[in-house]
Symmetry: C2
Subunit: 334 residues, 2 copies
């Protein structure tokens, strides 16, 4: 295990301690919902997002503990998004990380509410960062605002919406949209663009749709985690803008690598290049192929490092984990 | 139309202007999700909760406009809770206020995401109250924290969970819980109490369960609206505590009156005293009867007024709408 892997492991364990503390603090809920929240929150994972909050704050000279509330909030939001994604009306998944999904254990209604409760609790916990003296109220409020924007309809949720409707787009079928049109009078006059993209964008191609999905569905939460850490640590506007660029690139790279792994892992496991479902889905690999996708991931991570180099107030030594995280994203197998 | 009705109407129109502004600000979402959010947000209602935020702040000498962001946030949270409540896995309702429910128009997945997005946007908008000079960052952050607590698993969501599992409790059947036990190994060893109440409570009776549901399912959002207005306006700890008491009483009264209206409106419309569904449901009327429920509502609103009388820093003239709101709750037909 190298230095960075040790860093990642130590920080992840630190975050998990924080998460347990926040779960224990819930005293006025029916036990079953507290349990349901904890079930998914404690299901594991590398805790990359909260570690990014901490690594970003550390780069600006703060301690990891100073941003513990925000870091835990980020993981709660990630967890809520997984619970809701797995629901029958969404991806309808039965297993996640080898365990039954939340709704398989607690039922659909409780899983829905556990997601709602985690999202809500995330903001309650995030707001507590204002009580940390070295952070303060003003920066906490600003970071919370940016974070909320990053995970709502203009960020993560927006990306999920486009992803849902884009299914089949690569084959030019728009199956999904056709189905919606049939079901609902209210939506029948709307254009394809209406379902896929913000109104301000002029054109809709598979490329712009894919780039919107990637920037938002997965990327926005990663970018927001990084941005939150920087803003909490009091980054200047210019530095924040470059941290945002770093975050955007990191988020995009994460998703490209994810698309690549989807195919290569299936290849290994199933002995064929991706399932039908994957073929119908608009992904980097389905659009550009494996080779180009790999090159693109490298290039994007190069951009991430460039943006990081431009941030003035960060301590290069303390920022080492942010640089190493870029390498890690390229080689990860999460 | 009396003075208070005019006040309520003017303020509701003011809130709706604010809501439209916040919807228009959404520029980076696929149009369909923005539409879906606006569809439910603009579906009407008396906007009682945001008006309570404003009335509470005004009582402490602030202007209604000073708390516009928080007031709109409260209505967004109310709207998200309705969208998720109506979903097939919850109440499975097709109509709300005479219009098709969100998932009937936009599909289940989009309705789920519209609720998620509204809840998230609520916190983004709430945080913007910190930029209002007369309110500031510290009070905004404190109010946001209390508000989030009031609408999460320790408040509104907790009440919904108990309400779901308490169905049939009045007949001692626990149908629902039995069903869950059969379905899921993970939950099979749990006690009835586990599904209904916080662990710290010693006993579970129909009365304690009903009181938990009422205090939280509907009451918590009303109480949190009032508390948020007071905290944003800089109320002292002692005054805040009494505003919370006022809010708790108002929330409880609101729900009792709701239970009464459920029965009396059915009586008028259907010519019988409540449907089977209502009879199976644990409500104030089903537990105590109509007469006792009416008396109880009056007594609780008396408590609300008493608590309000104890708040030191409020201007009695400016607090008039808070007093009148208590009367309105008793006579309302929302």
């Amino acid at each position: 295990m190298n230095e960075f892997e040790k860093y990642l492991k130590t920080k992840a364990a630190f975050v998990e301690k924080g998460l347990s503390k926040y779960i224990l603090k819930i005293a006025n809920s029916p036990e079953v919902i507290k349990d349901s929240m904890a079930y998914s929150l404690e299901a594991g994972g590398k805790r990359v997002r909260p570690v990014l909050v901490m690594a970003a704050a550390e780069a600006f000279g703060k301690k990891a503990a100073d941003v513990m509330p925000a870091a835990c909030a980020v993981e709660m939001v990630h967890t809520y998004s997984l619970i809701h994604d797995d629901l029958p009306s969404m991806d309808n998944d039965s297993l996640r990380r080898g365990k039954p999904t939340n709704h398989k254990v607690y039922g659909e209604d409780l899983a829905l509410l556990a997601g709602d409760a985690l999202l809500t609790y995330a903001f309650e916990v995030f707001a507590q960062n204002g009580d940390v003296k070295s952070i303060g109220h003003k920066n906490t409020l600003k970071a919370l605002q940016l974070f909320a924007n990053g995970v709502g309809s203009e960020g993560m949720v927006g990306g999920q919406v486009t992803d849902i409707y884009a299914e089949g787009l690569i084959e030019g079928k728009f199956k999904r949209i056709t189905a919606v049109k049939k079901e609902s009078k209210a939506l029948s006059k709307k254009s394809v663009k209406y379902f896929l993209m913000p109104a301000k964008l002029k054109e809709v191609s598979a490329e712009t749709v894919l780039s919107y999905i990637h920037a938002n569905k997965t990327g926005a939460l990663i970018r927001s985690s990084i941005e939150a850490g920087a803003v909490l640590a009091g980054a200047s506007e210019a530095d924040r803008a470059n941290m945002r660029k770093y975050g955007n690139a990191m988020g995009l790279a994460f998703q490209i690598v994810d698309d690549i792994l989807d195919v290569t892992v299936s290849e290994k496991k199933l002995g064929k290049s991706g399932s039908d479902k994957e073929n119908a889905k608009l992904t980097f690999v389905s659009l550009y192929g494996l080779e180009v996708s790999r090159k693109y991931a490298k290039a994007v991570l190069g951009e991430a490092v460039n943006a990081l180099n431009k941030v003035k107030a960060i301590n290069k030594k303390k920022a080492a984990p942010l640089y190493e995280m870029a390498d890690f994203f390229l080689t990860r197998s999460m």
